[in-house]
């Protein structure tokens, strides 16, 4: 039942991806609208799937790879919808939504059954810590995509060429502004994620900081983004340099999330 809801959400995300890709090619307003509604439908069906799984499992469904990837994709879709309200960034949907769909397909390669909760995860901090962390991750994922578009667009503008469908993408200033917005939301969320994790560790492991690989890598990620913020606010870096740092920060974050789970292990690896 739960997996059925999940599949219908994935179906809507794929529809939405298709609509945004068609919109990119033909620039039809109606197609963009269709993409938007498909995205809204997908988001709410996905929400239903998360809520349903919460009641089915009896705990916050962010405890293994399937649930984590699904929740990560859900946060990305949610933040994209949030950004769409303020900025005209529909064209980015042709990258964000295929990414969301791919994440969900990837999630399906892991066992989807509800596993019993290990004692260490039985805590009120589980929903708080994971929600903030994944929101931070999702926000920085979008800024990562925006940064890549920024770098490509800027290079083509410098060469005085127009890249494929370049006219449909937002201006460099808008992209940079979105990057700034992502930074100003993502960084506080990441910080709250680390702090709540630290407080939880204080109750569960006997120490608020034990230099476990995940903790260390999340700190490294935090420092990369802190450098980015300093460079932007104190030195006044804009555009390309921030975009490169955003990409660096995301790679570090990706390693925190996946690399530590797959390669390093430690107290924090839940598969």
């Amino acid at each position: 039942m739960n997996v059925l809801i999940f599949y219908s959400a994935l179906f809507c995300y794929l529809l939405s991806s298709l609509a945004y890709l068609v919109y990119l090619v033909y620039n039809k307003k109606t197609v963009e609208k269709a993409g938007h509604y498909a995205l809204l439908a997908a988001f709410f069906i996905h929400l239903a799937s998360v809520v349903f799984r919460y009641f089915q499992a009896g705990h916050t469904p962010i405890t293994n790879m399937f649930e984590s990837l699904s929740f990560f994709a859900f946060c990305i879709a949610g933040f994209f919808l949030f950004l769409k309200r303020t900025y005209a960034i529909s064209s980015i949907g042709c990258i964000v939504l295929p990414a969301v769909s791919l994440l969900l397909i990837w999630a399906l390669t892991y066992p989807t059954d509800v596993k019993p909760l290990p004692p260490i995860l039985k805590s009120y901090w589980l929903p708080i810590h994971t929600t903030f962390s994944f929101l931070g991750n999702a926000i920085f994922f979008i800024s990562f995509l925006v940064s890549i578009i920024y770098i490509i667009a800027e290079r083509e503008i410098k060469r005085k060429k127009s890249f494929l469908f370049s006219a449909r993408f937002p201006s460099l200033e808008t992209l940079d502004l979105i990057n700034y917005r992502c930074m100003s939301y993502g960084f506080p969320f990441l910080t709250v994620g680390i702090i709540t994790g630290s407080i939880w560790a204080g109750f569960a492991w006997g120490s608020y900081w034990s230099w476990d690989p995940k903790e260390t890598w999340s700190l490294i990620t935090w420092i990369v983004y802190a450098i980015l913020i300093h460079n932007r606010l104190a030195i006044g870096w804009r555009g390309k340099k921030t975009a490169y740092l955003m990409i660096a920060g995301f790679i570090s974050m990706l390693f925190t999330f996946l690399g530590v789970n797959f390669l390093l292990g430690g107290l924090h690896s839940y598969m």
Binding site: P116, P119, I195, G202, W205, G206, P213, I223
Partner: protein, 394 residues
């Protein structure tokens, strides 16, 4: 000038130094495990903290200078601002009354007023940096005055010392005793552990002063020392009959009966194909000897040592609970730092400093406004304010 150099040069540098050292640490984590407490690492953190302190002090002096500077600019300056408008048909006090609904009064003189909102946001960066210093200070207190270790308790066992973690495990007195009244593990149908609970009592000066069911995520705290459920296991106990006397021994435990001194030297769950067995060491005169007792082999279950009949009656597994013990007097300092850093981040990213100037001029009251961050949003707010002023009837 010096301060500028420190902030813009040293802080990112410090960050980068910390970053590469950490990466290096990750790589060496497989071999070197206590590098996070290495002197050079702590020195690096101290350097980082020092640069933060200098940076914050510089910011403080800036604040001190700035507060004196706030004053009402002249008409020509206000006209240069992006957002300004004359409201000739309105009375100065009427406009002021409307503006003070949402803005606080900063400066007032004969010619006009300066109003502002979100002044706190100017202190955001300072709050964040200060709270990082607080967190580092808290962790340093923990490093100096705290410790980490563990105790293992069998059901009914009482201990007043803990084993410190580290390269050479040492014992340390707790200052009181912990007693394990009960310990239970429950499993899911899949065989994975569901819950483990130790019922523990704290005994001080012969009196029970505290008690709790310690679970994972639910530690017991007494006098700043916390006990966490961390692991569990079981140890075997051996039931002997030594010359007609029933004796229960654990591994490495010794027992004397008349001239016989014996000790359980080693336990094997499977001795070849003969099932569980214990190697019992004893003294033959001054010469140490050892012999195997096998539970399932009749001939080896009962043996004569130094003329005394020794019988291995049973071997049982007794569960024990492993409790992590830690004392960290800096933890509340760190948590205070956490609260402040969250507040600082909120102030820095979500509170916006905005100023509105109201001046008496020959052409009627002049309203102007400036904002440092999120100008587009302030644009809308300013227009709304002007509209409100225009429609308002006294």
């Amino acid at each position: 000038m010096l301060g500028t150099v420190v902030k813009q040069g040293a802080t990112p540098e410090e960050y980068l130094a910390l970053y590469s050292e950490n990466t290096y640490k990750i790589i060496t984590l497989f071999g070197l495990d206590d590098a996070y407490h290495a002197p050079w690492f702590i020195a690096l953190i101290a350097l980082f903290a020092l640069s933060l302190v200098l940076c914050s002090l510089r910011r403080l002096t800036l604040f001190a200078r700035e507060t004196k500077v706030v004053m009402l600019p002249g008409e020509d300056k206000l006209l240069k601002m992006d957002l300004h408008s004359y409201v000739p048909e309105k009375d100065f006090d009427e406009v002021l009354g409307l503006l003070t609904r949402r803005y606080g009064l900063a400066v007032r003189d004969e010619q006009g007023v300066v109003l502002e909102k979100g002044r706190l946001s100017r202190y955001g960066v300072f709050i964040i940096h200060a709270s990082i210093i607080i967190i580092l200070a808290g962790s340093f207190i923990g490093l100096l005055f705290g410790y980490k270790g563990f105790v293992t308790l069998k059901i009914g066992e009482t201990k007043d010392r803990l084993v410190l973690r580290g390269k050479d495990p040492a014992e340390m007195p707790l200052g009181f005793a912990v007693m394990c009244k009960d310990f239970k593990v429950s499993f899911y149908p899949t065989g994975e552990p569901k819950d483990f609970v130790s019922t523990v009592e704290i005994v001080e000066n012969g009196k029970i002063v505290a008690g709790k069911e310690i679970r994972v995520n639910e530690p017991l705290s007494y006098k700043g020392i916390r006990f966490y459920q961390s692991h569990y296991g079981s140890t075997p106990v051996f039931f002997f009959n030594v010359g007609g006397e029933r004796v229960v021994l654990a591994e490495r435990e010794a027992f004397r009966k008349n001239s016989l001194l014996l000790m359980v030297a080693r336990y094997e769950r499977k001795v070849h194909d003969f099932g569980p067995g214990v190697l019992v060491a004893y003294l033959d005169g001054n010469e140490p000897k050892a012999t195997w007792f096998l539970k399932n082999v009749d001939r080896l279950r009962e043996q004569n040592l130094q003329g005394i009949k020794v019988n291995l009656n049973d071997i049982q597994e007794r569960p024990y609970t492993g409790l992590e013990v830690s004392r960290d007097p800096g933890v509340f300092v760190v948590w205070t730092g956490f609260v402040f850093i969250l507040f600082g981040l909120y102030v820095n990213f979500f509170v916006r400093h905005r100023r509105i100037y109201l001046l008496k001029t020959a052409g009627g009251p002049l309203v102007a406004g400036t904002a440092l961050k999120n100008k587009g949003n302030f644009d809308k707010e300013f227009k709304k304010l002007l509209e409100e002023i225009h429609v308002h009837t006294p």
